[in-house]
Amino acid sequence: MSGQSVSQSSAGIRGGPQFPPEEAVLGCRNVTKTFGAITAVDDVSLAIDEGEWVSIVGPNGAGKTTLLNVLNGFYDPDTGGEIFLNGENVTSDPSYKRARKGLGRTFQGLELFEEEDVLENVMTVRAVKERPNLLSALLFYVAGGRKVEVENMRRVEEILDYLELWEYRHSTIGSLPLGIQRRVDLARSLALEPDVLLLDEAMSGLTFDEKYDMVRFLADLHEKEGMTMVMIEHDLEVVTDVSERMVVLDQGAIIARGRPEAVVDDPEVQRIYTGVE
């Protein structure tokens, strides 16, 4: 679906996905996720086009992170829900397989490897990309293990350079401020060279300057590399500035979707955000 228009569909902001989810770079159809009596995600269908930057917004508890967790395989959807990645139905794939098929993600709670330094954090994910074999690992010098590691390190240091993390590469995670840790989280997911990047509140807790830096890196990735991005974000100013499309969740269901300027002017969206009828 590359190049498909992201303009408002005729169904308006209350409509369904603008094209079939199985044709999307990342899509889902009729995804519901319940935890006991609680419905965290309620019959959500979504289609993300290649190179698109989509933001998912909604009040706390709306089901944004649960939806992301279902998309990347951390949770299985309830019966009937389907997930598509690059046109392939990946509903039955575990999270590690989806990551290897091109689905990267950052974490709201960071989830970095705390004991390791920045370089090792990113090298670990790069190892997944390269899938090292045991023989070449054990016979490091004679079976190509060193060559693979050298290439990995070169690529990882390019990523660290790109995200201006060079000076922190030998610092352990615990010694770094939150803004740098969030950048490490991003660097780690980029080491997978994903087709789609899921960003779970990548700017949460950042200062204005740190947020500015993060937006700059993400915008660069989107514009220069054409990275497809799905971002959960509370800051509506950031969302409307950078996103091409916006999805609003409330109580697990999509209540609006479309161009940011159209969605934020919608009375229903404003009611959910302000609580005023």
Binding site: S95, A99, L139, R146, L192
Partner: protein
């Protein structure tokens, strides 16, 4: 002019011997184990042979515990499987020591992998309990004559005085030959482990150890990597078990009780988890202390019993309080202090 040591290539950065002090230590230290058997007493040569064998076993534990974070309490069982397998290969098949070690390693790796299967679903103490079960099952298995003798070949087994490395060729039998062979094997397995630690496989093990949920979301296959850690670790411990039969010449299940598991944990904790040199330092320290302290305690308290475990218990508690990361971390701090001396930082 540079005021320190710098790496100018990724290859240099990944080298095993990277710093000047390491090169000096290698040149000065390398001849010591090579001339040791010719200057030490026979008793000490025997102690060091055991250090090398246990070194391989603790390297196996190191892969499973330090890298993959699996609390495996079946070192004794793994060594027993390796030892009994090797004994049968040497005594009945006559294939020689090297094939016996290889088959013993593979057999142990298979059993370790099978008992690592629960690690795909559970973690931490639940895994520990599953491997502890193997420890007790294995000892009982090798004790049983009637039911399982056809499999294990006999509860008590002895090895020939001289064993060829392949068939009857290149036989080793003297204490010095066993010493050098065990030393060679330790060097080989230490290098393999160091290689492993520099690659993506060990990184994925460590990632699962530290944060298995995020590791999986980022593409690490938890089940496969956990089992791989069991297989690699089990192989090493099995090989150590095979060498152990050569060393003691006679095996019974009592040699492979839970005590050997606890001993190996003590060696790993004392030396410091996470580094191959820590393993070697821990094994050497414990075995030398064992040798000298045991003798001293017998001299001082001829009637005393069970003082040696008490002594080791106190040592472990003191080390864990003073330097929880083990002797290797303490040496690292000393190295840093000397590097900066006479300045404090």
């Amino acid at each position: 002019m540079p005021c320190g040591e710098y790496f100018t290539s990724y290859e240099e950065r990944m080298g095993l011997i990277r710093w000047r002090i390491e090169r000096v230590a290698l040149v000065l230290g390398l001849p010591i184990p090579l001339i040791a058997p010719f200057v030490l007493t026979g008793e000490l040569v025997s102690v060091f042979t055991l250090v090398f064998i246990f070194g391989i076993a603790v390297l196996g534990l190191h892969v499973m515990l330090s890298y993959a974070g699996e609390i495996v309490l079946a070192q004794g069982a793994f060594m027993a499987i390796g030892a009994y397998t090797a004994s049968r290969i040497v005594n009945e098949a006559g294939l020689g020591l090297l094939p016996a070690m290889l088959i013993a390693g593979l057999m142990t790796a298979s059993v370790a992998t099978a008992f690592g299967l629960p690690a795909g679903r559970v973690k931490g103490f639940y895994v520990a309990i599953s491997t502890l079960a193997l420890q007790f099952i294995a000892v009982q298995f090798f004790f049983r004559r009637g039911e399982f003798e056809a499999i294990h070949g006999g509860t008590q087994q002895s090895m020939p005085g001289e064993i060829g490395l392949v068939g009857d060729a290149l036989a080793i039998g003297s204490a010095n030959e066993e010493y050098f062979f065990a030393l060679l094997m330790l060097v080989v397995f230490a290098l393999l482990t160091m290689n492993l630690s520099r690659t993506g496989i060990a990184r994925m093990f460590r990632a699962l150890h530290e944060n298995d949920l995020s590791a999986q979301v980022l593409g690490v296959n938890r089940f496969r990597n956990k089992l791989l850690a069991y297989a690699i670790g089990g192989f090493m411990v099995g090989v150590a078990g095979a060498l152990y039969t050569i060393y003691i010449g006679f095996i019974t299940p009592e040699f492979f009780s839970i005590d050997i598991t606890l001993l190996h944990y003590m060696m790993l904790l004392l030396g410091g988890m996470g580094r191959v040199w820590g393993v070697i330092l821990g094994v050497t320290t414990v075995e030398l202390l064992n040798h000298y302290i045991l003798q001293t305690l017998i001299d001082i308290f001829p009637e005393g019993t069970s003082l040696e475990p008490m002594f080791f218990g106190v040592i472990i508690i003191v080390v864990l309080i003073v330097e929880p990361k083990g002797l290797m971390a303490a040496l690292g701090q000393l190295k840093e202090y000397l590097r900066k001396w006479p300045y404090a930082y």
